[in-house]
Amino acid sequence: MIETSQIIPLFVAIPLGGAFLTSLTSKKLNWLADILGIGATLVLFVLSLMSVRLVYLYDILIYKVGAWNPPIGIVMVMDGLTSFMLVTVNLVAFLIACYSINYMEKFTSKWSFYTLFLLMLAGMNGVIVTGDLFNLFVFLEIAAISSYALVAFGTEKHELEAAFKYAIMGSVGSLFILLGIAFLYAYTSTLNMADMARVIKEQGASNVTILVTVLFLMGFGFKAALVPFHAWLPDAHPSAPAPISAMLSGVLIKSLGIYALCRIIFNVIGMTTPISNILMFLGALSMVVGVFLAIGQWDFKRLLAYHSISQIGYVVLGIGIGTPLGILGGLFHLFNHSVFKSLLFLNSGAVEYSTGTRDLKEMGGLASKMPMTGSTSFIASMSIAGIPPFNGFWSKLIIIIAAVQASHYWYAFWAVLASILTLASFMKVMKYAFLGKLGEKWNRIKEVPGFMQLSMLLLALICVVGGLLVLPSVSEVFLRKASDALLQGVDYATTILSNV
């Protein structure tokens, strides 16, 4: 009889093992790299769905690494928020791995792409499952370093420049996080997150916790590209190959930035009104600045990158409101954004694959030649702009309602305004890229190959039915569990320590 908690380390072990095997065996055999990449991500996706079921049954699962009891040993924790993030990350990763089969043909070393991809996935899953603060930092660096390398994957002028910028800013951000961990360790003399929460609760808030909060806000703010720290994102995300842009915008900034920040602020340090105000302000600022910068862009992927900043603002605003409805809306928008933003980046990749350009001015009428890309990107655009039947509408609606209920009318107003501007800028994308008259030189382009179409179709399908997640019976198992995990606050400590 295997214990159920044995499932947790698999989320790190499978992609790490996959990365190792890929680098070992697939240098000459491209098909083997494909199979390993798809296989590992598919298994992870199935396991993450199982984890939702397990959390429904047991509420919380704890795996002790090396059978050492906390607070001495490292623990891996699976609660509602963990399984929610795991589903988000692994769903997107699986579909992107499918897409990469065809897309990455034009690059020479597919095996190193899959190796780095799986390594990044291992880092992200590790950040999500770990219950130890320094362990979180190590996994964060694994994911971050492989993402620096992936941004530079094309090794052309622009890719290298963007990767250098991203790597320097990212590692300065990481150092702030490490400094925060050092202060927190000196204050609590433990590294286990649950135990830390217990000690902080006993000793009460002090100047050290405020300093640490600020350091974490800066560090994770860099990772999440909140507005004062966003300068690397519009360079790094467009320069990467399309599947990696989708991965970075879709899940990396969320699992490394938002998830880690929320976990530490809500469950370890404890949410207070000033932090809530700061989060809401940063969220609203990102939302508005991101969308204003996006409107003027003519590079398809750069436009999408600015929208990532703006949509992350919605997530942070929702979570920052701090009411149950606000957190639910924020997390729901996190899931939705990872779906439609990956889809949009995959669309831009498909357009680039067929036409070889990212400039919106050169395109036009592509929907007639590429029906699948055109229709899926229409669905994704409507989702991100918040048009009713699609998933983006529901999450934005919940966030706005939560803001109004908490009587933050101005924030609600900015959220509505940013949504309208998002719609405007995606109207521009649709008009210039997919509708209108077909340009002379695009007469001979073809629709993209099968696997790319398949993964875009599946993501579009999730955009359409994603709104169903707010139905009470569905959200009870998935979203509600996730927001409950944040809402319990520093009681996280007792939940974990009593369950060992």
């Binding site: 320094f134 660096e141 370093i145 622009h158 420049e161 250098f164 300065v172 400094l179 050092a182 320069s239």
Partner: protein, 112 residues
Amino acid sequence: MMPYLLCLILFCEGLYCVLRKRNLIKIIIGVMIMDYAVNLFFVLIAYKMNGRAPILSPDTTIMNMVDPLPHALVLTSIVIGLATTALFIAIAIRIYQKYGTFDITKIKELKG
């Protein structure tokens, strides 16, 4: 108190180097200085006057032992720093091959 202040100054020096220098290699050195400052801070946390290593043996009891955990953390952090630095330098070399310069004011094709 003095060592902590010096450690802070070292960190700020690295940050200044990252923000103000124009040469790619100097920026990389700046990040490394910041990295060392944080590592030094970890070691300072664990330091104890006249402390001893906590090695357990049957017939001795150690009264004044240092905290061994930050040392282990610093080792990990140094390894991570090594990987990051290697990647930085690899990217910097490739940039030099493409642009023919290390000056960041001349490497700015991405805008907007």
